[in-house]
């Protein structure tokens, strides 16, 4: 990220250090910074949201951790068998299970691919969008919003239909251009082709968020800055790298974090498109695996342990990401 260091000389207003650590500037921004403390007031505004959050997220998370420490199956839930505190046994069981490690590996790889592709496609299109005729841009935006608006269930259904072994358009097209080996070809038979199919759908419905956000960010960059740089003889790639990228960093951070969070938690697409985890569970990701252990196999304790592991993993990834950012001078 060091390559993104801003060219101060060329962008007099391009100071990208923002928020807490940033020096207050002449603009309207310092608002809250200069606020006097008014004791209880902020807490009154926070209270309703936080009461809801504590009840509907805090408490369930606490229970999730709690349940993960028990031998908690259907018989225990129904009160037909004694509840037994087992400490970390559920975790030990998981760590000793080779399937868990496979699923973990799948999850990380699948999510990483989705994050990278989503960011790549979204930001490339955002940059592209700045150079388009208005009507072309509007077209691009409207179809993107369409993909974004498509519910996960229906998006998965359409993609599945397009790639259906016998009735799908993709196979029919491939066969009609002479690739007869695709007659009846199942795209979910092979593990990676299955993941690829799901990832395509995920990228399709999640890149618009990146596109719209990054585009908005580019638009917010003052035209004068770029003009000034241009007059100073900076080339386009240099402007992009040295001015636009640093200024876009806060946006890139947010879309990256959101993409990580969303893509690691993919559930519906895998559940629907691979029919609950694919052949012999080859397309399972942690989230689906945990859900199946908990709800289908009624190993609630084990399923909860998986949920805890997943949250911890996401937090770890995000923390590492934030740490890297902090080192390069960015803060939350």
């Amino acid at each position: 990220m060091t390559a993104l260091a801003p060219l101060q000389a060329e962008s007099p207003r391009g100071n990208n250090s923002t928020r807490p650590s940033g020096t207050p500037t002449a603009d309207s921004r310092p608002v809250r910074r200069s606020k006097v403390k008014r004791g209880l007031e902020p807490w009154l505004y926070l209270a309703p949201a936080f009461i809801v959050l504590i009840a509907l997220l805090g408490y369930p998370i606490f229970q999730l951790i709690n349940v993960s420490l028990y031998d908690y199956r259907q018989a225990q839930v129904s009160g037909k068998a004694p509840l037994r505190f087992t400490g970390l046994e559920n975790y030990q069981k998981l760590f000793a299970d080779p399937q868990f490690w496979t699923v973990l590996g799948n999850t990380v790889m699948f999510a990483a691919a989705c994050v990278v592709l989503t960011l790549l496609v979204g930001s490339t299109l955002a940059v592209l969008a700045t150079r388009l005729r208005p009507w072309v841009r509007s077209t691009l935006f409207i179809v993107s919003l369409g993909a974004w608006a498509t519910p996960a269930v229906t998006g998965s259904a359409v993609w599945l239909f397009l790639f259906d072994p016998t009735l799908g358009l993709v196979n029919k097209t491939l066969v009609s251009i002479g690739l007869t080996q695709f007659a009846g070809h199942s795209w979910t038979y092979d593990k990676w082709s299955g993941f690829g199919l799901v990832a395509s759908e995920v990228v399709w419905c999640s890149f618009p968020f990146v596109l719209v956000t990054v585009y908005a960010g580019i638009q917010a960059i003052s035209t004068e800055v770029i003009e000034a740089a241009r007059i100073d003889g900076a080339t386009m790639p240099r402007i992009a790298r040295s001015i636009m990228l640093p200024m876009l960093r806060p946006i890139v951070i947010v879309v990256t974090i959101q993409s990580i969070i969303w893509n690691f938690k993919i559930f519906s697409q895998i559940y629907i498109m691979t029919n609950g985890g694919g052949i012999a569970g080859q397309n399972l990701v942690l989230n689906v695996y945990g859900y199946q252990q908990a709800f289908a196999a009624s190993l609630y304790g084990l399923g909860s342990a998986l949920g805890v592991i997943m949250t911890a993993l996401l937090m770890a990834i995000t923390l590492v990401y934030l740490r890297i950012l902090k080192r390069t001078g960015e803060a939350l």
Binding site: R13, P20, T25, S28, V31, R32, K35, P42, Y45, A49, F50, V52, L53, A55, L56, P60, Q63, L64, L128, T130, L132, R133, P134, V136, R137, S138, T139, L140, F141, L145, G146, A149, T150, P151, V153, T154, A157, V158, F161, L162, L167, T173, A216, G217, Q219, I221, I253, V254, I261, K265, S268, G290, Y291, F295, S304, V308, M310, T311, M315, L332
Partner: protein, 303 residues
């Protein structure tokens, strides 16, 4: 980005009136336009196929008709969807739940965003991190604790118990708030402090300022951002499947759609028709708030 004046309300550009920053590379524009159109076609294709398949007659679909057009568009697939018992009821339920979630979560998130942007207090950064972290918990994993929570809540307040629409509203409000707070910070922060001071000098209380001045000022952006809560609620089938146990009259739209996923013989026409019906309200919402959304997203990440 504090150096740049980007108040979403005043001069944030939107998709339609973006300045042409790269106009000088005019010759390259044709190539860019062509590429963008090609991409638009690819992106739109699944949507096009969805609408097309919904309009094709069932016989054509079963025969694996792959033509990119249909000469005899038919509404029979829509007919089959609408013929599902209580389809109207399901649709209404989905609308009720989504709207309730949007209203409640937006108000709560707005108030929280006020606290987190217009006040300076010790825990501020910590709370922001808590909000971020709370988005990381896989909601699917919380189904079990939430199930019991709502079961017990239902004993006290039947309206939010299992089998009730209230249970869906409650969980989705919980899940929508963190991201909504995150989004709304930008809008709230963008209102100049001078306005607040002026209001205070006029003797307005803090709450009065928030209610009568701040909220109307940021309302358009707030509405735009509520599209996120709307989508996640509208699309949910996991909670609908788990919490609405036996009360068919309280099922939501995605569940109606799932009835067409038959073991081994999907009724693609009906699935596609149902998908169209499900997608349209979200798309309308999106297009309606599009401009505000773009500026909102730009503002949000600067908060």
């Amino acid at each position: 980005m504090s150096a740049i004046n980007v108040s979403p309300r005043t001069n944030a550009p939107s998709a339609a009136d973006a300045p042409q920053k790269f106009r000088r590379n005019g010759r390259r524009r044709f190539g860019a336009d062509a590429a963008a159109l090609a991409i638009a076609v690819v992106v739109a294709f699944p949507l096009f196929w969805m609408v097309l398949s919904a309009l094709k007659p069932k016989t054509a679909l079963d025969a694996g008709d792959a033509a990119p057009f249909t000469l005899e568009p038919s509404l029979e697939s829509f007919g089959r969807v609408l013929a599902v018992n209580n389809f109207g009821q399901y649709f209404l339920n989905s609308v009720i739940v989504a709207l309730a979630v949007v209203v409640i979560s937006t108000i709560l998130a707005f108030l929280a965003a006020v606290a987190l942007t217009r006040y300076n207090f010790k825990m501020r950064t910590k709370l922001l991190i808590i909000i971020l972290v709370s988005q990381m918990v896989p909601v699917e994993a919380l189904t079990i604790p939430l199930f019991f929570l709502l079961r017990n809540a239902g004993e006290a307040i039947p309206l939010v118990g299992l089998n009730q629409l209230g249970s869906l509203v409650l969980v989705h409000v919980g899940f929508s708030i963190p991201f909504a707070i995150w989004m709304l910070r930008g809008f709230v922060a963008a209102v100049p402090v001078e306005i607040e001071e002026a209001a205070r000098l006029d003797g307005a209380s803090s709450f009065r300022f928030v209610r009568s001045i701040l909220f109307p000022l940021v309302a358009p952006g707030v509405v735009a951002c509520s599209v996120f809560s709307f989508i996640s609620t509208w699309n949910d089938f996991l909670f609908a499947k788990t919490f609405i146990i036996s009360a068919q009259e309280n099922q939501t739209l995605p569940m109606a759609l799932l009835t067409f996923f038959k073991p081994d013989q999907n009724d693609w026409g009906a699935i596609m028709a149902g998908s169209v019906i499900m997608t349209i309200p979200v798309l309308i919402f999106f297009i309606a708030v599009q401009r505000k959304l773009v500026s909102g997203l730009a503002g949000a990440v600067k908060g």
